[in-house]
C-alpha cells in the first residue's frame, strides 16, 4: 500500500456555466477495521481510517463529510458541485494519523 493517499478526481467532459456537475473522486486508503479479540471485545488502539473529507472550490469550503470505519477500503465518492465560473477544486482527506491527502483539479468551462 505504498500508494496510500493517492487521490484521483474525475470531472464531466463538458461543463456549462450554472451546471450542477457530479464530481467523482477516489482515494487509496486501507480504512482499517475494528479488531476484536476472541471474546468479541474491541481492541482499543488508534485505528487508521479517514475521518473527514473536505471539498473546496476556489478556496471556499463547499462540502464536508464525516466518515467512519464503515466506509469501504479505497473509498469512492460522488458529490455535486455548482459551477458558475472556472476554478480550482480541492478534495482533502484527513485520516487518524493526522495526515491530510489532497487532490486537485481544474474546472474549465467549455
Amino acid at each position: 500500500m505504498a500508494e496510500i493517499g493517492r487521490v484521483s478526481i474525475r470531472l464531466p467532459s463538458s461543463i456549462n456555466p450554472g451546471d450542477v456537475i457530479r464530481v467523482r473522486t477516489l482515494v487509496i486508503h486501507p480504512m482499517e477495521l475494528v479488531q476484536r479479540d476472541k471474546q468479541g471485545k474491541i481492541i482499543p488502539k488508534n485505528y487508521h481510517f479517514i475521518h473527514t473529507m473536505t471539498v473546496s472550490f476556489n478556496g471556499k469550503e463547499i462540502l464536508r463529510t464525516e466518515l467512519t470505519q464503515a466506509v469501504s477500503q479505497n473509498p469512492n465518492f460522488t458529490f455535486p458541485l455548482k459551477v458558475d465560473r472556472a476554478g480550482k477544486l480541492t478534495v482533502a482527506f484527513s485520516d487518524t494519523t493526522g495526515k491530510t491527502y489532497e487532490g486537485h483539479a481544474e474546472v474549465n468551462i467549455s
Binding site: A70, F79, K82
Partner: protein, 176 residues
C-alpha cells in the same frame, strides 16, 4: 453576556464568572443537540467507539424529533443483494433545495444492523447545488439502510431500503 459587556471594572470578575458559566452551559447544550452544530467534530483520534443499537444512534443524532417519510423527496439506490458486504455502492439523491429559507444541511447514512450504525454524514452548502451523495460502504449483515436528511430548521426526512448481504463486510477473524 450582556452583563459582561456593560460591566465596569469593579464587577469584571463577577461578570467574567457569569460569562464562563454561560459558555459552559452553551457547550453542554450543544452536546444535547448535536445536529445544531454546523460541522460536528469527527472521530479524529481513531480510538474505537462503543457498539450502539440503532435506536440509541437515532436518539443521539436527532433527539426525540419526529422523522417524516421522505418518499418522493429522497431517492436511495442500493443493490438488492450485496455479495460483498465490504463494498456496497450507495447513492442518495434528494430533490430538496440546498439554498433558500429552508434548505438541506446534513445527510446521514445509517445502517440499522451495523455495530456502529452511523456510517457517514454529508454537510452541504449552497455551492453544492444539490443534495446528492454517492459512496461505497461496509455492511455487517442483511440490514435496512436509512438515508436521513436534516433541514436547517430541524425537520427530518428519511427513506430506507433493505439490502441482503452475503458476506459480512465488518467481521475480521479475532486477533490473538
Amino acid at each position: 453576556m450582556a452583563n459582561f459587556l456593560n460591566s465596569d471594572f469593579k464587577s469584571t470578575r463577577r461578570a467574567f464568572m457569569r460569562f464562563a458559566v454561560a459558555a459552559v452551559g452553551l457547550s453542554s447544550l450543544r452536546r444535547f443537540f448535536p445536529g445544531n452544530e454546523v460541522f460536528a467534530q469527527a472521530n479524529s483520534s481513531g480510538m474505537p467507539l462503543p457498539d450502539e443499537p440503532v435506536e440509541a444512534t437515532m436518539k443521539r443524532l436527532f433527539g426525540n424529533r419526529t422523522i417524516s417519510s421522505g418518499e418522493g423527496k429522497i431517492k436511495i439506490e442500493l443493490p438488492q443483494i450485496a455479495e460483498d458486504g465490504g463494498n456496497v455502492a450507495i447513492t442518495v439523491d434528494a430533490s430538496l433545495p440546498v439554498t433558500g429559507a429552508t434548505h438541506v444541511s446534513h445527510l446521514y447514512i445509517v445502517a440499522d444492523k451495523n455495530r456502529r450504525p452511523m456510517l457517514a454524514k454529508f454537510s452541504f452548502t449552497a455551492d453544492s447545488g444539490r443534495a446528492f451523495a454517492s459512496t461505497s460502504i461496509r455492511l455487517a449483515t442483511t440490514t435496512d439502510v436509512r438515508a436521513v436528511v436534516e433541514m436547517n430548521d430541524g425537520k427530518l426526512f428519511a427513506v430506507s431500503k433493505n439490502v441482503r448481504v452475503t458476506i459480512s463486510g465488518c467481521d475480521l477473524p479475532p486477533a490473538g
